[in-house]
């Protein structure tokens, strides 16, 4: 073992922290810019972008942009819509994709390898290429909901949810994780009398905290932050509109940048809360699984 030179050690620490701070800054500064800008009138905001003032609460600071943003768009409704679509989609997706992955990993059936390959191959198909066929499809599908039977899914929550439930990436995450679970645990459960359902519910899922957290984070961010094109073409009614489509309200004729920043700051809050919540669950679940030999 080499002897640790204290001076060298200090230098290494300093370098490490400098790198970490730089990386943190890359992620924090845009957020800071967004929040600071939301407090400034559009004109000052645009002028400040040429200097470090862009990151500081200086000049004419007020919450006016927030009042104006609320006047312009039903922000609460949009956030609610996005949250609803996100929560329902993510929950169903985790359930369905983990079940699919369970079947791919633990059950034996003919053609399993082929179907898994085809499923994973869909990862490389960009959504834009299937958007129009999918639109034609959903516009003709029947649905029985609270309002009774109707043909066509357009202008609804379910049209924003159902096509997004099954997804190859989430299945892939679960398959990878399940493969690494000790196989004997599943076998032990089976010889102790468990049905496949019970193996899934009582052994595999309780040990899958980390992958559930990862899947939930990835999928939620996608559903909340990135749903733009699809809702834009399938939802015309304001009452079902999600946040990203709502952003369009601020880009009419003249862009009200201050309001845009206020809007963005508002819709970021749920993401931060969610992330901080899951981060703890994430760490806790890693700590509690600790499968030791």
């Amino acid at each position: 073992m080499a002897v640790i030179d204290p001076a060298n050690h200090g230098l290494r620490l300093a370098t490490r922290y400098t790198v970490l701070i730089l990386i943190a800054a890359i992620f924090v500064l845009p957020l800071l810019f967004m929040v600071m800008s939301s407090l400034k009138p559009t004109e000052q905001l645009l002028n400040d972008t040429s200097s470090l003032r862009a990151f500081l609460p200086v000049g004419d600071i007020s919450l006016q942009n927030y009042y104006d943003a609320f006047d312009r768009a039903p922000i609460g409704l949009f956030v609610f819509n996005s949250l609803l679509v996100t929560v329902v989609t993510v929950s169903l997706s985790l359930l369905l994709c983990s079940l699919a992955a369970f079947s791919f990993t633990f059950l034996k059936w003919r053609g399993k390898g082929l179907i898994l390959s085809i499923t994973l191959a869909t990862l490389i198909i960009p959504f834009e290429t299937i958007a129009i066929p999918l639109l034609l499809l959903v516009s003709k599908l029947p649905w029985i909901g609270l309002e009774g039977f109707r043909i066509g899914w357009l202008n609804s929550y379910h049209v924003q949810i159902v096509p997004w439930i099954a997804d190859a990436l989430t299945i892939f995450l679960f398959v990878q994780y399940f493969k690494d679970l000790p196989e004997e645990l599943v076998e032990a459960a089976r010889v102790a009398g468990a049905s496949w359902w019970q193996v899934y519910l009582r052994v595999v899922m309780p040990l899958s905290g980390p992958v559930i957290a990862t899947g939930a984070i990835l999928k939620s961010l996608k559903m909340y932050n990135e749903q733009y094109l699809w809702p834009l073409i399938v939802v015309q009614q304001e009452s079902y509109r999600p946040i990203m489509v709502g952003l369009g309200y601020f880009f009419q004729l003249q862009v009200a940048w201050g309001e845009v920043m206020a809007y963005l700051s508002l819709i970021t809050v749920p993401v931060l809360v969610f992330y901080l919540m899951l981060q703890r669950a994430f760490i806790a679940s890693i700590a509690s699984t600790g499968v030791k030999g």
Binding site: K108, R190, R202
Partner: protein, 355 residues
């Protein structure tokens, strides 16, 4: 409690046949041990009984019912794995109760059963611990506890003790023996360990390359091995084999000899013709140094001695280069390089046709 019958059981992984037609009858309440070299298919056979591997051909009956297509959960079996396989997210109590919980047993009854199992395995004080807070031996107890609460008709063990250290292994071996007496359940046990096989088994099944080589009581296999493989596999240190020539055939016996062995008359296990080459097996324990060096049957030079306390293991090189191992009494002292002459009782040898 149940009989288990394996009838011409076969298993292939892809094109590779690993179990090649196995017939075994296991009586109700019997303790059967599968032994054999690594890769011979012991675990595969056990997993086929458990229902964890599909049966490619043949039939498996438990309690008179063909169970080839029956799910593990419906076979009335319980299995203990080499790696323990206890659930890390549950306490010991929850682990032991697992089979009962999923069967929906009422809490009071379940608690009573768990306590009973914990008492039998002397682990009442561990019930509220997490698996990560247990030693290897304690974990294996939990795994056994999880098996016994279900009152299975057949217990399956796949090398349950091989991850434990020697002292613990001996304790647990005795516990499993006691358990078998207490529960009078049918048990099928896979092991590498000769001592486990000899001490626990009512019946040992020796497997080689997916086939049964011999089935019998431990003493049967030890004293009357049916073939060269079993003779060499059972017993420690392994049986010595001398290349001999059959000199003459008599009524039921033959005379054999080789350059370092004076002619002796033995009863052959395989039929051999005069003039043929054969293998003469002698257990190291049955060799003794002869008091008069000129009167012994085997003559050689001592190459190595190992004093184990209860006995001394001596490697002797014969004139023709073959090595013979003798297990001698503890107080025999030999110099390396010294000439010895060993003697033995021809009635305790085994003669097999040369392969």
């Amino acid at each position: 409690m149940a009989d288990v019958a394996l009838k011409d059981l076969r298993k292939s992984f892809g094109d590779v046949e690993v179990i090649k037609g196995v017939d075994i009858d296991i009586q109700d309440g019997e303790f059967v041990v599968f032994v054999g070299p690594s890769g011979c298919g012991k675990s595969t056979l056990l997993r086929m009984i458990a229902g964890l591997e599909d049966i490619t051909a043949g039939t498996l009956e438990i309690d008179g019912q063909v169970v080839n297509e029956v799910q593990p959960k419906d076979r009335g079996i319980a299995m203990v794995f080499q790696t323990y396989a206890i659930f890390p997210h549950m306490t010991v109590r929850e682990n032991v109760a697992f089979g009962l919980t999923i069967a929906g047993m009422p809490k009071a009854e379940k608690d009573a059963k768990v306590l009973e199992a914990a008492r039998i395995l002397q682990m009442e004080h561990l019930l509220d611990r997490r698996p990560s807070q247990l030693s290897g031996g304690q974990r294996q107890r939990v795994a056994i506890g999880r098996a016994i609460v279900r009152d299975p008709t057949v217990f399956l063990f796949d090398e349950p003790l091989s991850n434990l250290d020697a002292a613990l292994r001996m304790d647990m071996r005795m516990e499993i023996g006691k358990l078998h007496n207490q529960l009078t359940a049918t048990m099928v046990y896979v092991t590498h360990d000769q001592v486990e096989a000899m001490t626990l088994a009512d019946k040992i099944v020796v497997l080689e390359d997916g086939q049964v080589r011999q089935i019998g009581t431990p003493m049967d296999l030890y004293h009357h091995p049916a073939n060269l493989f079993v003779a060499g596999f059972i017993g420690s240190p392994s049986m010595n084999f001398l290349d001999v020539t059959v000199d003459a055939k008599h009524d039921g016996t033959v005379t054999v000899s080789n350059p370092s062995l004076d002619p002796i008359e033995v009863t052959p296990t395989d039929s051999v013709a005069p003039g043929a080459r054969a293998k003469l097996g002698i257990r190291p324990q049955y060799l003794t140094p002869s008091a008069d060096p000129t009167k012994g049957k085997l003559h050689g030079t001592i190459e190595l001695t190992e004093r184990l306390g209860t006995e001394t293991i001596v490697d002797v090189a014969m004139a023709d280069g073959t090595k013979v191992i003798a297990a001698l009494s503890e107080d025999a002292i030999f110099e390396i390089g010294a000439e010895v002459s060993l003697t033995f009782d021809p009635a305790k040898t085994h003669l097999f046709a040369a392969p």
